[in-house]
Assembly symmetry: C2
Homo-oligomer: 231 residues x 2
DNA sequence: CTCCGAGTTTGCGCAAAATCAAAATGCGAG
DNA sequence: CTCGCATTTTGATTTTGCGCAAACTCGGAG
């Protein structure tokens, strides 16, 4: 539990306004869970009977199309509530959540949702704020897919991951969780072949360095140019 | 105001659980507005100082990219609350809303939002439900853009409009608000040329009929096949 | 140490769709 | 009725990026 304690600071954003006793109350009702990399936290279509707080690690939210392809909708960093579909009146999860890296969550039975909303000040506001942010992201994502060329999309995708989760290392900024070419392809609506070609080209240009499942951006500003956020 | 009265029945879904006196109370605080086709209801980036209930007509929600292209994110039918970003902690509107056809809205100053939430039972639940639905739609939209080929996307887009707003006419189902080829292109991330070619081809096949700004689907099941919702 | 498999790289040809260009068609205003 | 503009259609050309195929590389299991 040393790991848990150390994660709590980062992970308790939704409960920021609460006092120590209230936090204890909430934690006492939760079940901590550890998820290996790649493990399924919940699956699309399952009965939505729990919601989670991501304490540590990263979660990939994806959807499987009727024809079997997977689309990665979003990555979530620690501190986010996940699986909150039931709060929006859904009885089943609308997407699947996988641990993108070894992760730590707290899980609560869904009936506690309304209790939390009623009892803890700031909880509802925090949730709505998070939903607003996710709307924003989804709108961006749609706009990007609809207007940008493949290279721009991939550049924007890498930048987004860097912004959300980048950590400084010598020589650049690295993405803090394992990402394969195929993952990036699933996010950007292209193929792993194309992603591989682009990353190779960028590596030749000195814009990024990548080992397997692992990307370091050495010249973020040049990626920004490619992504077309500026003229 | 005859028009308004007649619209109220359809438009008051968010207040379904209220009694007559409560509805009167709410209406008394609202300002009705008429919007011509193409008129702007609110604009991306503006201070979000009001929210709206769409009583009649259809609203197009769109976003303008830094490079000037427009992306249509969604169409909203009567009965929907729009401009509810402030409820999610935003101070500015995250997208632009245009009247897709002549429309009628009620507008409230944003400070009433929390009053409504506190005072009227079912209001919060209705809002959350609507947000859940929009998340679902956005996820679908992303998945569609990411995995489907152009013809499938356009087919799915036409079907979506038909499902949301279709009205039966002799010979098929028509989309109830004006849509141009360019509009469809903005929704599906393609060009109006391609959309035009597809619609022409479908017309030759007898799947749709279209005059300008106006589409009637005569064989929905064949569009479904094209959209790839089935194997 | 070697084997194996997941992940990655690369080449080539092709089909889909964008772009360029131009004409045709309606619709509404005067 | 006619003009002008917005919308739509269509053709020719070019580009993009996907599908297929094959090879390579790294890292871990035995």
């Amino acid at each position: 539990m040393a790991r848990l304690d150390e994660s709590l600071i980062a992970g308790l954003a939704p409960f920021r306004k609460l006092d120590r006793a209230q936090i204890r109350e909430i934690l006492d009702q939760s079940a901590p869970r550890r998820h290996d990399e790649g493990a399924e936290i919940f699956r699309e279509g399952e009965e939505a009977d729990r919601f989670f707080l991501l304490l540590d690690g990263f979660v990939r939210v994806l959807r499987t199309t009727p024809t079997g392809e997977q689309v990665i909708l979003r990555h979530l960093p620690p501190g986010q509530l996940i699986g909150i579909a039931p709060a929006m009146g859904r009885t089943t999860y609308p997407a699947t959540a996988l641990a993108a890296s070894e992760s730590l969550t707290l899980a609560w039975p869904v009936r506690l949702w309304s209790v939390f909303i009623d009892r803890y000040e700031g909880f509802a506001a925090h949730t709505l704020g998070a939903m607003g942010q996710r709307f924003q992201d989804l709108h961006d994502h749609v706009a990007e897919l609809a207007t940008k060329a493949v290279e721009q999309r991939v550049a924007a995708c890498v930048l987004r991951m860097v912004n959300q989760t980048g950590r400084k290392v010598e020589g650049g900024i690295e993405i803090a969780f394992p990402v394969t070419r195929a993952n990036i392809a699933e996010m950007t609506g292209t193929t792993l072949h194309t992603v591989s070609r682009l990353l190779s080209a960028w590596e030749k240009e000195g814009i990024v360095e990548s080992r397997r499942k692992h990307i370091v951006v050495t010249q973020p500003h040049r990626l920004m140019l490619l992504s077309g956020v500026v003229g």
